[in-house]
């Protein structure tokens, strides 16, 4: 069972329907006990970084997500959810994130249209189980802030927007996708499917 974390920050409908179409069991929840029992966690999110951390904290699930991820439970952060995995952000002031991965989140600079909105090419940087049998393609981004990862090896896929922008991060069972896999055509759905498959495999191994 996958748990989609519902903390009032995001469009969960498309994501849950995509998982449903691919045949995965999921629950939409903010209940710490349900999160602890799930085989994998998905942290979606749109909106502002500080607000999101606040919404997680008042539900008492920031610590649960962190503890579960550190125990090795697969966790996928999507869009803002990926940014929350990192140490800190400058969005509307300075805020600390979940700090599961080292790095900072900063606003795009320079002569760029912001938000970075639309379909951009996904470059696979390192071989990774997530990419098995997949080819690079366009995926859909919409964000004004981007991750500056402290460990470049955590960044397994990038896109270009003024600079090289981390698009997929992965370390152990902690994953993040800056784009929206549920809105990114076939490649997006396949990546979501790969994550869900990794979760099921891990879930079987654990039990």
């Amino acid at each position: 069972m996958l748990a989609i974390i519902d903390y009032g920050m995001g469009n969960l409908h498309s994501l849950s329907k995509a998982l449903e179409r691919m045949g995965y069991d999921y629950v939409i929840t903010s209940d710490p006990d349900v999160l602890r029992k799930a085989n994998g966690l998905i942290l979606p999110g749109v909106g502002a970084f500080g607000d999101a951390m606040y919404e997680l904290a008042i539900r008492g699930i920031d610590t649960v997500i962190k503890a579960e991820a550190l125990e090795g439970k697969p966790l996928l952060g999507i869009c803002l959810g990926m940014q929350l995995l990192f140490s800190s952000s400058d969005e509307n002031g300075y805020y600390e994130g979940l700090n599961l991965l080292p790095g900072h989140v900063a606003r795009f600079r320079g002569e760029l249209r912001i938000p970075h909105m639309g379909w951009n090419w996904l470059f696979f940087k390192h071989p990774h189980p997530l990419f098995r049998d997949l080819s690079e393609d366009y995926v859909y981004f919409v964000h004004s802030y981007y991750v500056q990862a402290a460990n470049s090896e955590d960044v397994i896929a990038t896109t270009n927007y003024g600079t090289s922008v981390p698009a997929i991060v992965a370390r152990n069972q902690i994953y993040g996708m800056q784009f929206h896999p549920e809105k990114s055509g076939k490649l997006g759905l396949k990546l979501l499917n790969q994550f869900a498959r990794l979760v099921e495999k891990v879930g079987v191994d654990v039990s």
Partner: protein
């Protein structure tokens, strides 16, 4: 770099697609979901659903349309029409819309842009601007209520104001070009797109593949919208994209 987006627009009334849809290969050409799924498969980069229902019932039906669309589409979509409060925005986003678009409401109540951006983020706040050239003042004037009522706003200034208030994207329709199929309004699109830093969708006037190339090569628009030429299969999404690719415009 990021690709230019091609966006079909579907006018929906009481849950049905209206305004000229003549797809022969659809089971039910009036079904917005079936048409949207067709465009998703055909390579649309995004979709816009414009709810032109007048009734309360029609608006409720739109929420159901949005829920179904979110369950089936693998591309993002925007919902516009009749959005006049934070609750309206919330209802559509919760139903699965990626962005909402507001037009008249933004003029009547500009604080709504700020309230929406603060609560849901600028990335989902599209402000639609209907503009018409006024020869007497040699400038474009913003119209509301589906292009019926002129306002005191000038298009470029208004675009800058809505961005300052939190709009993350502008859907710019030229009332002069709309319906003529003679091409997008290059001057208007360039004036607005160079005045703001957010993405601008050019709308109104698309008649063939070349028109898309012209708007992307002569303005800073990042997306272009069309309705009837796609619905009537006068031009296909794939032929537009092929035409653009051959001329060096990056598309998906």
């Amino acid at each position: 770099m990021i690709t230019k987006r091609i966006i079909p627009c579907l006018d929906v009334k009481e849950g049905r697609v209206v305004k000229g849809v003549s797809f022969v290969n659809l089971r039910d050409a009036g079904d917005p979901i079936e048409l949207a799924a067709h465009y998703d498969q055909a390579g649309a980069d995004e979709l816009i659903f414009l709810d032109i229902s007048a009734s309360h019932e029609g608006r409720k039906t739109m929420v159901e349309v949005v829920e179904k669309a979110a369950g089936q589409l693998s591309i993002p979509f925007t919902v516009g029409g009749g959005i006049a409060s934070v609750e309206d925005i919330f209802r559509m986003l919760r139903a699965g819309a990626d962005k909402i678009s507001m037009n008249t409401a933004a003029v009547l109540n500009p604080e709504l842009i700020e309230a929406g951006a603060r609560r849901f983020g600028s990335q989902c706040m599209v402000v639609a601007i209907d503009a018409k050239y006024e020869p007497e003042i040699q400038d474009w004037i913003v119209y509301t209520h589906g292009g019926r009522i002129p306002t005191e706003h000038r298009a470029v200034n208004w675009a800058q104001e809505v961005v300052k208030r939190g709009a993350g994207e502008i859907l710019l329709t030229s009332m002069d070009a709309d319906g003529h199929k003679d091409g997008f309004d290059i001057q208007l699109t360039q004036a607005v797109s160079e005045a703001v830093q957010v993405p601008v969708i050019a709308s109104g006037g698309a008649g063939n593949e070349q028109h898309f190339y012209e708007v992307f090569s002569n303005t800073q628009a990042t997306a272009a919208l069309a309705a009837s030429i796609f619905h009537f299969q006068e031009v296909s999404l794939s032929s537009v994209k092929t035409y653009l690719k051959e001329r060096g415009v990056e598309v998906r």
